[in-house]
C-alpha cells in the first residue's frame, strides 16, 4: 500500500472548521512522497478545494443544522486524488452553475467558488446519496 491515504473526517456544520480541514489537506499533500509536481502548489490547491467545497455544503446546500456533521473523505492513491464532501441539505443542480466570464467581467458577484474547484480539479460531480448529496472532485496526480 504505497502512498495510499484514505481519511474520513466529520466536523460540525460551521465555517470555523474551514481552517482545520484546509490545513489537514495541506499537510496530506506535503507528506506525499512524490518527486514530480509542485507539492506546495498541490497543498494550497487541496486547502482551497476543501474550503470551497465545505462552504458550498454549509451555505448553498442549505445544510444549516449545526447538529448535523459535515462529512469529508479524502482519498489519495498512486495516480489520483479524490475529495468527497457530503451534505444533508436540499442540494442543487451543478449543471446549472455556469462559470462566470471573468475575462469580460472580473467583478462578477457570484460563481467564484465552483469556478475555483473546476479550475483546480479534473472532474467535479454533485450527486444524490441515500441521506443527502455528495460533491465529488477528482484530480489525476503526476
Amino acid at each position: 500500500m504505497k502512498n495510499v491515504i484514505d481519511i474520513e473526517i466529520t466536523v460540525p456544520n460551521q465555517t470555523r472548521y474551514l481552517s482545520l480541514i484546509g490545513k489537514i489537506g495541506e499537510n496530506i499533500a506535503l507528506e506525499l512522497d512524490r518527486s514530480n509536481g509542485d507539492r506546495e502548489a498541490l497543498a494550497n490547491h487541496l486547502n482551497l478545494v476543501l474550503t470551497e467545497a465545505m462552504v458550498n455544503a454549509i451555505k448553498h446546500a442549505k445544510a444549516t443544522d449545526p447538529d448535523k456533521g459535515l462529512h469529508i473523505r479524502i482519498t489519495i492513491s498512486e495516480k489520483q486524488l479524490a475529495i468527497r464532501v457530503y451534505d444533508s441539505g436540499q442540494g442543487f443542480d451543478l449543471k446549472t452553475v455556469t462559470n462566470p466570464d471573468f475575462e469580460s467581467d472580473p467583478l462578477a458577484e457570484r460563481g467564484r467558488g465552483i469556478f475555483i474547484i473546476r479550475s483546480l480539479m479534473d472532474s467535479v460531480k454533485y450527486k444524490k446519496t441515500k441521506c443527502g448529496n455528495v460533491l465529488e472532485m477528482k484530480k489525476t496526480l503526476s
Binding site: T51, V55, L107, I116
Partner: protein, 111 residues
C-alpha cells in the same frame, strides 16, 4: 478577526493580521471597509502581507469593497500579496482590476 487600522493623511491603511481570509472571517473585513467608507474616508489601502490563504468569499469581499469605493469616487488598493494569494487573483483575473503594490510604502508613494 485581527485588523489594525492606521490613518495616513486622507488614506486609511487596513492591516489584515490573519493567515486566512475566508468564509469564516471575511464578513468582518467587509464590515470594517464599509464602516471606513461610511465615515467619510474615500481611499483605503489593504495590507495583506500576513494573509497566506484566500478563498472565493475573501475575494468577494475585496470585489465588494472595490465596487463600494468606485461608487463613492474613492479607491480600494492592495499591497503585500503572497504568492498563493496572487495566484488566486490571476486565476479569477482580479489582478487586472486592482492596483496592487509590493509594500505599504510603495503604495503610499503612488497616491
Amino acid at each position: 478577526m485581527d485588523l489594525k487600522t492606521e490613518l495616513n493623511g486622507n488614506l486609511m491603511v487596513i492591516f489584515v493580521r490573519e493567515e486566512r481570509l475566508d468564509a469564516h472571517n471575511s464578513d468582518e473585513l467587509k464590515a470594517e471597509i464599509n464602516r471606513t467608507f461610511e465615515q467619510g474616508t474615500k481611499d483605503i489601502l489593504l495590507d495583506l502581507k500576513e494573509v497566506r490563504f484566500i478563498d472565493s468569499s475573501g475575494l468577494g469581499v475585496l470585489v465588494s469593497g472595490f465596487k463600494n469605493a468606485s461608487t463613492r469616487q474613492g479607491s480600494l488598493r492592495l499591497c503585500g500579496l503572497q504568492t498563493q494569494v496572487k495566484s488566486m487573483f490571476e486565476l479569477t483575473r482580479l489582478h487586472r482590476v486592482f492596483d496592487i503594490f509590493q509594500t505599504v510604502d510603495e503604495a503610499l508613494e503612488n497616491y
